[in-house]
Symmetry: C2
Subunit: 191 residues, 2 copies
Amino acid sequence: MNRLSLHTYLQTELLIDINQEIISQFFSTRELGKGEYFIKTGQVCKHLGFLEKGFVKYYKTDDKGQEVVCDFAKESDWITQYQSFIFQTASPLSIIAIEPSTLQIISFDNLQLLYAQVPSIEKHSRKVIENVFFSALERNNELQVLRAEERYVKFAKENPDIINRVPQYDIASYLGIAPQSLSRIKSNYRG
Amino acid sequence: MNRLSLHTYLQTELLIDINQEIISQFFSTRELGKGEYFIKTGQVCKHLGFLEKGFVKYYKTDDKGQEVVCDFAKESDWITQYQSFIFQTASPLSIIAIEPSTLQIISFDNLQLLYAQVPSIEKHSRKVIENVFFSALERNNELQVLRAEERYVKFAKENPDIINRVPQYDIASYLGIAPQSLSRIKSNYRG
DNA sequence: ATTGTTTCTTCACAAATGTGAATGAACTTG
DNA sequence: CAAGTTCATTCACATTTGTGAAGAAACAAT
């Protein structure tokens, strides 16, 4: 999939004119192979990451030892576990690369310094968090109101790219559906 | 139910020593009879409210004209529709009193002035919003993972007070369950 | 108390989803 | 290519939940 460098992202998406030196000063590059972790359950999340390339999933393990997928992120998404990052407490979930991924990561302290130096980034940061919040509310509503089939159809429509990059059992888990049921839903839906 | 004045709340819960005059300067009292609206779908939410007494529910109307309960709030909760309040845009949902309620309300502009004058309130405000955000994530997880019966049991355990103040069909709606099913769940669960 | 109205419960049946097992397809790895 | 592994599909059946109708219970108004 396409790569979008942090520098280009800031320049073209946010119209923030910042030179590469400043970025290099605050961020460092991190590569994750498929199956490598950005953060594991129980660890403290030390960094915020910008995903230049690749794909990750957020998941946790429930009481019965079952893996539950909480979210996905792809190119040009910011990733972190907010609670853990902000309060420097143990993360309740893990973030794992399901494709080889390239990140630009920044520590909490450096982020504060960057905010001070480039205030428009703090403004953007607030917007990103707001959007995560509003997405969570919308997801609540979908899980509350829609049946399994409706959830899948909506998800597939809004995330056609993800459908092809993620194993189906992960999508099923994210939607709160048994993988076999999702399989049935798909075949019923076509014909 | 017990009333908790905004003044007492700030004093004893937040340990913010603020005199009643300042509160009166920024806030005004609003009474809502049962069935009266704090905000209706489509309107812009002009105020943030502190619920001194009473009980409200958040709801919206889905495609089929069905009412869907999104949230509840009770004494000593802050209420507003964040998107609408922050951006001054049309609210996607309504907030209605289901018990006679007393609110202390403050406009967006006054809130900014109050923040400037009493910074600890801004700090607290951020915490409140954070908690709403984290609750939304937890609710996501519950709706994703738990069956109807489990959702009800958990809700009843964590909100024994609400159970007795709200009609059962509202709780059913909030949990994404048909009212008859909730009735069955309750009787199965006891014996 | 009597009448209405609303809410809750119960029932029989329908529809949706979960579950375990079997199979086949796709993908790795040697 | 062959063997092994992982993933997706399908099936039969179990369980959960939805639905409409009927009645009971709770509540409100006169």
